[in-house]
């Protein structure tokens, strides 16, 4: 519709030079990536934290297979599951990286004035991202476990879901890139949006890489002797193992001090301290 020569050198709404707007957008993108990275770090911390603790043996101890619990007519039934295969994580990463490379190529070609290459690269990048989405979806839907099958299963599935969300966002950007470069709105003179997309895709590649690394190298928990409920091992040999009768009950009846004084004398009021959250 528009040729590159008719693209505005000044930003249409504010009249500022497009380059200045581009620099501003780039900075904002980096800040967005910081926030996004913080969220990804939160997920990675969650994964590695639970991996390192292996609470209640619920991660999956070394040498053991995951044990999942399914319900069938409300009767618990043991089923066996296993860890996820590692190669799909790397396959997803490979496709995402290829898509990112394609976008960088498109951006650089567009900046050099090759509008057709910009459009082609954007299309190629978008197609690769669709492929990555499909592979990611297939991986999630074929995991040999469900989200409730222990901490490993939960952490892996949510990491993959995070990948999926990132890829959907990138796909939105790439569809925009295809459309806008086709219309000449992204061009040699106005290329900052292609650059921003490529930057964001680079970050997404890093996020997928981090996910692949933890799901490959942090699989079996190093904690081979985790605390197991009902038989906590304590460091002091003089400590007596707790018996069910000494466990504090939810009503607080195990400890005299846990029973709060009543402030009212109403016979109908069966008053207990409301739970404190911290």
């Amino acid at each position: 519709m528009s040729s590159p020569t008719t693209s505005p050198a000044l930003f249409a709404t504010t009249g500022e030079p497009v380059d200045r707007v581009g620099r501003r957008n780039r900075l904002a993108l980096w800040l967005m990536i910081i926030a996004d990275a913080a969220g990804t770090v939160a997920l990675l911390i969650s994964y590695t934290y639970l991996w390192s603790l292996n609470v209640n043996g619920g991660w999956a101890p070394p040498g053991a297979r995951l044990t999942a619990v399914e319900t069938n007519n409300d009767i618990p039934k043991k089923v066996e599951a296993t860890f996820a295969a590692e190669w799909p994580f790397w396959l997803v990463l490979l496709i995402v990286v290829l898509s990112t490379v394609a976008m960088w190529w498109a951006y650089r070609a567009g900046r050099s004035g090759y509008q057709t290459a910009l459009v082609t690269g954007s299309v190629l990048s978008a197609l690769l991202m669709v492929a990555a989405l499909v592979v990611q979806w297939v991986q999630i839907s074929t995991f040999p476990f469900g989200p409730s099958d222990g901490a490993y299963a939960s952490a892996v599935i949510v990491l993959c879901a995070s990948n999926l969300a990132h890829m959907l966002l990138v796909l939105f950007l790439l569809i925009g890139m295809v459309n806008r470069s086709r219309k000449g709105l992204v061009s040699q003179r106005v290329s900052y949006q292609a650059q921003a997309t490529a930057y964001y895709m680079t970050w997404v590649s890093v996020a997928v890489l981090l996910g692949a690394l933890v799901t490959t190298f942090f699989v079996t928990s190093p904690n081979t002797d985790p605390a197991v409920f009902g038989s906590f091992k304590q460091s002091s040999s003089s400590t007596v193992s707790p018996s069910p009768s000494t466990s504090p009950s939810p009503s607080g009846s195990a400890s005299p001090s846990a029973s709060p004084s009543k402030k009212k004398a109403s016979p109908s009021a069966t008053k207990k301290a409301s739970p404190s959250a911290s």
Binding site: P8, L10, A28, A42, P260, A273
Partner: protein, 663 residues
């Protein structure tokens, strides 16, 4: 579709001929038809439709891992998602991304329409992009949240003060505690960075608008959507586990917990968007000549709060996302039976939870330091010290979170490093207090309402800060933890310093925001009434905490009665003071004295433009040639540093005072 495209005429933007993208229809496009009413309608339709579809698709016998029925949970979550998506759709939040996707860029005329040009009062009920409109919208929304949180606070104090009867069921009492907590935290986070950050900061740095006007509107309306989620939670069991909603309590909570989780997820997006926008604006749009040493201290404060929110909020957000998947999707992140950990939740939560204190406090302190030079007619005592204090707080804020977890049993070995880092952070915070005191020292005071609020801020901040040192100390915290002492402490910090600072900010910027002077007489009465009530309420609470009264507990021993009676009386006095202050705002806004463009004689840029502020803020972009607080007086600290003998001498001060005439 292309038949509706018109040839793009050039637009004249600030004197420059700017080529325009193809225009589609009238300026504003579909935005002309979208407003708060369509947002509400679409939100309700979205909520009902999503809830109905989910109810139809979910088997009524479905249950989760703990055999609890899941249908109500799924339906409520679908209602919340439907509400948020529908509301934002109806407001027009998705118009920009869709137009971008389709390659239909907005024109200058579109941008002016979206900024509310010639829309009159209607612009306050639309997805308006003008930062001044967004600032006013933030102010009103914040006041509404405060009204909600304040009303709940009155209910809490009523229950605790009426020691001879039980007014509320324990579950409802817990609900009002939790809802009050999170509502007030949200309100305090946005009360300065929202109204002042949006309305004032762009003008203060000499910009025409925020860097991303549409993101500005997006952050505001996401906040509105989030608050509705919060309110809705009260009708489906409420938030019964405090604002921190620790596990496993949260796992056992009614569906209202989903309202909390959705509120936080949406609010974190709003905050992230606002932080990026504010930071980009400050970093890239400062006026020519506005070096960092010439940038007002409030800008540093807002920037610091945005930075802390940017890196810390995602942890809070993800804690709630994981909690949501635990609840809805049966993941086990926080379920120890299957390998999860409640400590994981606590860590993720407090990784934001404590920086959040400084997200609230730093803008408030920076605002206090911004106001003081204007009314003391002298430079800030050591601008550099104040900046160093803000940088120090930002640097340490991410290293103190575990002091909230001393008593949870998580990693006792790290208690002492965290004790050290927590006590260290009092040093940069102390810098800010010292700069305030140094600026007051031997100054000629022009006591007006904004400065009165600063007196309150400094007083409350010192009490809150000193009591915080006790709580940061592991042995002392063993006694104080979970007691009313903690409640009193954080109210001194968040409300005493944060809210009173915000009151000062509202009084200070009221003339610029509304074109009228806030009624000083009634404003002062409201302020001091609230201040006195505040001291009674939370001073008594310190006593109750020292005596051992636990927090978040409906019932207590008779020995705490007197403290609680006093606290309740004080709370009602606060409420009275706030109502008086609110009335002063409303009546002054409607019929107060008309303000000149610079009624305080301030030297910073936002006061150098006309009132009411034109759409483009400045006819010609300003050039900054001096520091923001050069009220004809050399900075005494700098002068001292330059003087080898280090003696300011009485003559210097007298000369300073002579020049510091009060207008």
């Amino acid at each position: 579709m292309t038949t509706t495209t018109t040839a793009p005429p050039n637009a004249t933007v600030f004197g420059a001929e700017v080529p325009q993208p193809p225009q589609h229809g009238k300026p504003g496009g579909i935005m002309r038809h979208l407003n708060f009413g369509t947002g509400l309608l679409a939100g309700i339709v979205g909520a009902v439709a999503a809830g109905w579809i989910t109810a139809a698709l979910t088997p009524t016998s479905a249950s989760n891992a703990t055999f609890a029925p899941t249908e109500p949970e799924y339906v409520y979550l679908a209602v919340l998602i439907g509400w948020v998506v529908g509301f934002m759709l109806g407001m027009g939040a998705f118009v920009g991304p869709v137009r971008w996707l389709l390659g239909r860029d907005i024109t200058h005329a579109d941008a002016e329409y979206m900024a509310g040009k010639d829309l009159g009062f209607r612009r306050y009920f639309k997805f308006t992009t003008d930062h001044k409109v967004v600032g006013i919208q933030y102010l009103v929304v914040t006041l509404v949240i405060f009204a909600l949180g304040g009303t709940l606070a009155m209910l809490i104090r009523t229950e605790l003060g009426v020691t001879w009867a039980e007014l509320f069921a324990p579950t409802f009492y817990n609900t009002i505690i939790g809802t009050h907590g999170i509502a007030m935290v949200i309100a305090m986070i946005v009360v300065i960075s929202g109204p002042v950050g949006n309305f004032i900061v762009p003008m203060m740095i000499g910009a025409r608008d925020m860097a991303f006007p549409r993101l500005n509107a997006l952050s505001l309306w996401l906040l509105v959507a989030a608050v509705v989620c919060l309110i809705s939670s009260m009708f489906v069991g409420g938030i019964q586990d405090g604002w921190s909603v620790y596990y496993p309590l949260a796992a056992q909570a009614p569906p209202g917990m989903l309202g909390y989780q959705m509120t936080i997820i949406v609010f974190a997006i709003s905050t992230g968007v606002a932080s990026v926008n504010l930071m980009t604006t400050i970093l890239t749009m400062r006026a020519k000549g506005m070096t960092w040493s010439r940038t007002p201290i409030l800008v540093f404060g807002v920037f610091a709060a945005s930075l802390m929110g940017l890196y810390a909020f995602p942890f809070y957000q993800y804690s709630q996302i994981l909690a949501l998947t635990d609840r809805i999707w049966d993941t086990v992140f926080f379920n120890p039976v299957q390998g999860g950990s409640v400590w994981l939740y606590e860590n993720l939560f407090w990784l934001l939870g404590h920086p959040e204190v400084y997200v609230i406090l730093i803008p408030s302190m920076a605002l206090a330091l911004e106001i003081m030079p204007v009314f003391l007619r002298r430079p800030l005592f050591s601008f550099n010290f104040a900046v160093a204090g803000i940088i120090g707080v930002v640097a340490l804020s991410g290293l103190v979170w575990a002091h909230h977890m001393y008593m949870t049993g998580w990693a006792p070995a790290v208690n002492y490093p965290f004790m050290l880092s927590t006590e260290m952070i009092s040093i940069p915070v102390g810098f800010l207090v010292l700069v305030a005191i140094g600026t007051f020292w031997r100054s000629t005071v022009w006591t007006r309402l904004p400065l009165m609020a600063i007196y309150a801020v400094v007083f409350n901040k010192m009490i809150g800060g000193v009591t915080g040192i006790y709580l940061s100390d592991v042995p002392a915290d063993q006694y104080f933890h979970g007691s009313m002492f903690v409640v009193a402490h954080f109210h001194y910090m968040l409300m005493g310093a944060g809210l009173f600072g915000a009151m000062g900010g509202i009084a200070f910027y009221f003339p610029k925001m509304t074109g009228r002077i806030l009624d000083e007489r009634w404003g002062s009465i409201g302020l001091w009434t609230a201040f006195v009530g505040f001291q009674i309420t939370f001073g008594s609470m310190f006593v109750a905490g020292l005596q051992g009264q636990p927090r978040r507990v409906l019932q207590f021993d008779d020995m705490f009665n007197i403290s609680n009676w006093l606290s309740t009386i004080g709370a009602y006095v606060i409420g009275l003071g706030m109502l008086i202050f609110l009335a002063a705002i409303i009546f002054s806004w409607r019929s107060g004295d008309v303000a000149s463009s610079n009624p305080w004689g301030s030297k910073s840029l936002e006061w150098q433009t006309a009132t009411p502020v034109p759409l483009e803020n400045f006819e010609v972009l300003p050039v900054v040639t001096e520091r923001p607080y050069n009220y004809g007086v050399p900075d005494p600290y700098e002068q001292r540093m330059k003087s080898l003998d280090g003696d300011l001498g009485p003559d210097t001060r007298l000369e300073s005072d002579d020049k510091a005439g009060v207008p």
